[in-house]
Amino acid sequence: MNINATLLAQAVVMIVFVAICWRYIYPPILSVMQEREKRISDGLEAAKKADDSLEEAKLAFDKELDQAKAEAAEILEKANNRASQIVSDASSKAEAEAEKILTAASTTIENETNKAKEELRQQMSDIIIDTTQKILGDEISKEKHEEILKKAAEEL
């Protein structure tokens, strides 16, 4: 064991290696490691945030869905109401129309009947007068017995 200049040389060598490590080796590795650490923690945080927002979105979605369902139900009800109203409107209108047609038809029928009756009456009185003329000759003329004929026609 003899101490010599090797000691100084080794001290110098050590300083050189430490300087190299200090300057060129340690900082880049450490920065990569710290960067990665930051990335990982950022990533975890982002994942947590995403989870939270997913939860939020789910809640919002549920709410929205409920609302939409309620709205749909409301719309359906309205539509139903409106449909039934339309149907009832239509049926009442149709009934009224039918009534109207019916009354019009019965009026026409009555008029026709009256007309036919009148005609029949007229023809009857003519036939009677003809017949009576034939039987009585010219004793009875239409002009002479206008009064009587009218009376008879009214009695018919």
Binding site: Q10, E35, R36
Partner: protein, 296 residues
């Protein structure tokens, strides 16, 4: 050294560094002239492995990120390992250093930890493998041209840098300098001197305080360096002794040596990692002390 292989020569061969130094006749790497070298001698093998393993550390850690420097990609393979090391160091720095912001501490701790771990791990390479290989390479390269390489065995090559006190104390010395630097810059020169002189007996016994605190202050780096050296030197020594069982004994003892090698290698893995960790933790702790401004 080309002479007969004895227990003593085997051990001393394993414990001698390949040294190049300045002798009165000039620079030489002749192992027979090590005694003439003064302070200006270098353990080339220790420094070679120390630099090679430091470069390996830099290369691996640089490659792990340059290939994959984006935080969006999934880390894999080497990058995971590198990041694990850094996380480990960061945790330790955090727990010992607390809130003090100093960007040098963590890279320093990382370098010290990985580097020492790699150097310690060289202890697990079979004790004879690299020295013999180096001896043959040196012999082949030098040939007859270099008088002191007479045979592959005459070339000394010690592999584990941390079994060389120069290496461990050299690192401790570097950390010691950093401690002084931060003590002065963070606390201020006045507070630093006050810390060394006004404890533990107050201002009327400044010389006593200074001696006591100085011992305390100097003991830190020395114990830091010697702890690592001692542990690894002892581990290496035991490997060498176990290896001796294979070479110099009968077959049963040789077989026992194999078993002991395995057991000791397994146990040594623990020491390797533990000592690297202790060195790193103490480095951080000493630097944390240098940042402490409050009186204690």
């Amino acid at each position: 050294m080309a002479s007969e292989l004895t227990t003593e020569s085997y051990i001393s061969h394993h414990l001698t560094n390949f040294t190049c130094g300045k002798t009165p006749d000039g620079w030489t790497c002749d192992p027979y002239k090590v005694d003439q070298m003064g302070f200006w001698a270098f353990h080339v093998d220790s420094l070679f492995w120390s630099i090679a393993l430091g470069a390996l550390f830099v290369f691996v850690f640089k490659k792990a990120i340059s290939k994959n420097s984006d935080s969006s990609t999934t880390p894999s393979g080497m990058q995971n390992f590198v990041e694990m090391c850094i996380e480990f160091v960061e945790d330790n720095v955090q727990s010992l250093f607390g809130s003090v912001k100093n960007t040098l501490i963590a890279p320093l701790a990382l370098t010290v930890f990985v580097w020492i771990l790699l150097m310690n791990l060289m202890d697990l390479v079979p004790v004879d493998f690299l020295p013999v290989l180096a001896g043959h390479i040196a012999y082949a390269l030098a040939g007859e041209g270099v008088e002191w390489i007479k045979s592959p065995e005459s070339f000394y090559f010690k592999v584990v840098p941390t079994t060389d006190p120069n290496i461990t104390l050299g690192m401790a010395f570097g950390i010691f300098l950093l401690t002084i630097y931060y003590s002065i810059t963070v606390k201020g020169l006045k507070a630093f001197i006050a810390e060394l002189t006004l404890h533990p007996f107050g201002k009327y016994l400044i010389p006593v305080n200074f001696v006591l605190e100085m011992v305390n202050f100097i003991a830190k780096p020395i114990s830091l360096g010697l702890r690592l050296f001692g542990n690894l030197y002892a581990g290496e020594m035991i490997f060498i002794l176990i290896a001796l069982m294979l070479f110099f004994s009968s077959i049963p003892i040789g077989m026992l040596g194999f078993g002991l090698h395995l057991v000791w290698a397994l146990f040594h893995i623990l020491i390797v990692a533990l000592q690297a960790f202790i060195f790193m933790a103490l480095t951080i702790a000493y630097l944390a002390m240098a940042h402490e401004t409050e009186e204690h």
